[in-house]
Amino acid sequence: MKTVVMSQGLDAALSPLEKSLLSLFAPEKERRANELYRKISKKKKVALSSIPVILDRLYTKGILERRAETCRGGARYVYKLQLDKSHFEKSIVENTVNALIHKFGQSALSYFNERFTRGK
């Protein structure tokens, strides 16, 4: 299966389970929560009810896009990778920076300040 190449920045922004789920996506291919659960439960111990929560988080972070569809069980989301390159890059940068600030606090802020004051 094709895997998504993840940058070091993306590693900092995502949890291990988020990264595992994201690795199951291929560009242009749509995925549903139950099929992702079937694949990921072979490698990791995870509850079915956790999958929609994590997918929603990835959607909120702008990494995935989704649409709702009606189905036998009622309704479900169909997810796929956010392919708008600028949108995808922006959300990766935003999540990475937020994760660094959350983790390192003042050190991260000081670094950014120095970095942008110095210029490229």
Binding site: T70, R72, G73, G74
Partner: protein, 252 residues
């Protein structure tokens, strides 16, 4: 033509006119007493939602009838008011039915549009709803709509067109039996017109200063328990409802 009297003089003159009219005073006091009696019976009524709704609206009618009469009396009998003053006088009694109509018809419509609610096209769910709607003697089986949000939400509207609204997040989080427990819970709310009771409770607390202190939301929590008990009775176990609630708590 002489100029109309100023605001304060006009108000004093109008109140003096009412105070001198014994019949009018008796009528106002009589209606006020009836509104208190309706509130008293509302607080005593348990279980029966239709009776509670009846007492709520009787309370409001008796409360606002004197106001309507006084406004009508002032605007028709007296020449002291100009058109604008008469129109302003009518805004208070007019706001009550306008708010009611807005809440009853417009809010559900806006809610549907805001959440882009769409009908669930599942034969299994439709068959389940038809079966229990017939059990509950509902005239028409309500439609089930899905809301485009991952947050687990389930509720009903029982205005003109009853409907059950369940979010995609809830459909994805629950298994079939847990979902059936939720649908049974919501069907009970449609049967007992709980959403109309909730709306009416909010409405009477908004417009009646007396009801603010005596009408509580206890009736609504009683309805929630009744709906839970119905789901448990139909499924013959608490297990599915309990696990559905647990999953919803975990999401929060």
């Amino acid at each position: 033509m002489s100029a109309l009297p100023g605001g304060n003089e006009m108000i004093h003159a109008l109140f003096a006119e009412i105070a001198n009219n014994g019949l009018l005073i008796s009528g106002i006091l009589g209606f006020a007493a009836l509104s208190f009696i309706a509130l008293f019976f509302l607080n005593r009524t348990k279980e029966n939602v239709r009776k509670k709704l009846l007492w709520i609206y009787l309370h409001l009618v008796f409360l606002f009838a004197p106001l309507l009469f006084v406004v009508f009396y002032w605007t028709c009998k007296t020449i002291l008011l100009n058109c604008l003053q008469k129109a302003l006088l009518w805004t208070v009694p007019a706001s009550v039915p306008i708010t009611f109509l807005g809440g009853f018809f417009v809010v559900p419509y806006i809610y549907r549009k805001m959440h882009a609610a769409k009908v669930v096209r599942s034969k299994e769910i439709a068959a389940f709803i038809r079966k229990y709607s017939s059990f509950l003697s509902l005239k028409k089986a309500p439609k089930v709509y899905y809301l485009d949000t991952a947050k687990p939400i389930a509720h009903t509207f029982t205005n003109l067109i009853p409907g059950i609204f369940i979010s995609v997040g809830m459909f994805e989080s629950l298994n079939r039996k847990e979902l059936e427990a939720v649908l049974l819970h919501e069907l009970y709310h449609i049967r007992s017109r709980s959403s109309f009771l909730k709306f009416s409770t909010l409405f009477v607390r908004m417009f009646s200063p007396i009801a603010r202190f005596s009408v509580t939301y206890k009736e609504l929590s009683d309805e929630e328990q009744n709906a839970d008990q119905f789901a448990v009775r139909m499924q013959k176990t608490k297990k599915f409802l309990k696990s559905a609630k647990k999953k919803l708590e975990e999401f929060k």
